[in-house]
């Protein structure tokens, strides 16, 4: 009991640092989800409808990004991009890395949802004389959206848990701030 109240004391003492970290986590996540989803839809469309060379390039992109740990992506955007003249601060690097990570996952979600729609839907739309664009906007996309919403929410939730990887030395995020503050108190 004693230990628990000591813990609460520490939390209370560190409340401002923790809240600032929380705010930072939320803003990194929201930005990354927004940017990543927009980019991800484009990735998904390219994977589904792109011609062979485009599909090849985008497939390489998604497989590479999905196969790379988030921490590596964050560090790469912070340290490696600066060597080619793109200077991102820690916050920007975090958003960038997570957005890229998010886009590769959303891209696969979009591709899966579009490909899961039975071919008969496209055929029926063609048969009444719709062009591809009309078929996509009226028939395919509304169905894909319903299909991918649950998985998209999962990915978004995942994005909220990732900013702990963002460079803590410069911009303490929620978790690292808690760690540092508890160290400072003890």
């Amino acid at each position: 009991m004693n230990e628990f109240s000591a813990f609460l004391d520490q939390v209370w003492l560190a409340r401002f640092v923790i809240l600032r970290g929380l705010g930072l986590t939320v803003s990194i996540s929201l930005l990354a989800i927004a940017l990543g989803s927009v980019l991800g839809v484009l990735v998904g469309l390219a994977l589904t409808y792109g011609n062979r060379p485009l599909r090849f390039v985008v497939r390489a992109y998604t497989d590479f990004i999905r196969g790379t740990p988030v921490l590596v992506l964050v560090l790469a955007s912070f340290y490696i991009l600066s060597t080619i003249g793109i200077e991102l601060n820690a916050f920007q690097a975090g958003v960038f890395a997570l957005a890229v990570f998010c886009s590769s996952h959303v891209g696969e979600i979009v591709r899966g949802a579009l490909q899961a729609i039975p071919a008969g839907q496209t055929e029926a739309a063609k048969a009444i004389g719709l062009t591809f664009r009309q078929t996509f906007t009226s028939v395919l996309w509304p169905q894909a959206l319903r299909q991918m919403l649950p998985t998209w929410v999962n990915t978004a939730a995942e994005m909220v848990k990732r900013p702990r990887f963002c460079p803590s030395s410069a911009w303490p995020s929620f978790c690292s701030a808690r760690r540092r503050s508890s160290r400072a108190i003890s």
Binding site: G120, E123, A124, K126, I128, G129, S138, P142, Q143
Partner: protein, 256 residues
Amino acid sequence: MTKNLLEIQALRKRYGSVEVLKGVDCTMQQGEVISIIGSSGSGKTTMLRCINMLEDFQGGRILIDGEPIGYEERNGVRVRKSEKEIARQRALTGMAFQQFNLFPHMTAASNVMLGLIKVKKMARDEARSVAEKWLDRVGLGQRADHYPGQLSGGQQQRVAIARAIAMNPRLMLFDEVTSALDPELVGEVLQVIKDLAADGMSMLLVTHEMRFAFEVSSRVIFMNQGVIGEEGDPKVMFLKPQTERLAEFLKTSSFA
């Protein structure tokens, strides 16, 4: 001589190395109801799908009202028409599918209205009243605001027919429209098709319902291994088949 509504000349279609249609010739006049019968793999569905370019074809020509479908000659080379042009030509025909293929996220009325609004550029109110008229005609006026998932198979197929026919096509294509239905639901769909035939709609039906083909058709085509095996009046075809292959097919079919 009356102008042909549909003219198929030496139609050839292959999937990879398998030739499915090996030179099909066929003409059809306005108001005719033609049933296409034959065993599976004989090419009857493929032929139907070529007519509205759901399948590309490699040889021959298909003409609707004298207008070549899907391909044109440019400097002596056969080229596929633009997607936009093909979309326009697809609207010349209406098609009903074995699996209905209604859009599940739209009500029955919206399913019918989509083509009217997007392709025919009708105003929403006008499209709605056309949709209601056709849903009434197939006996589903009361179901206009139901989603496909709330309708029985027979009702879904009737909505799908209304969706195709509301576009006012020159020719209706029916691709085994009763094959996916429970036996007790087949009758209501066939009745809708009979009513359309009575109205003078030109129709091409791929079907396994021999009794129905016998009753409704003005002509029957028997497809056999990618060519037309026999064609003619249903009474002759079903009662006095001229080829051995057709006699054999009819023996194994449900026609009795």
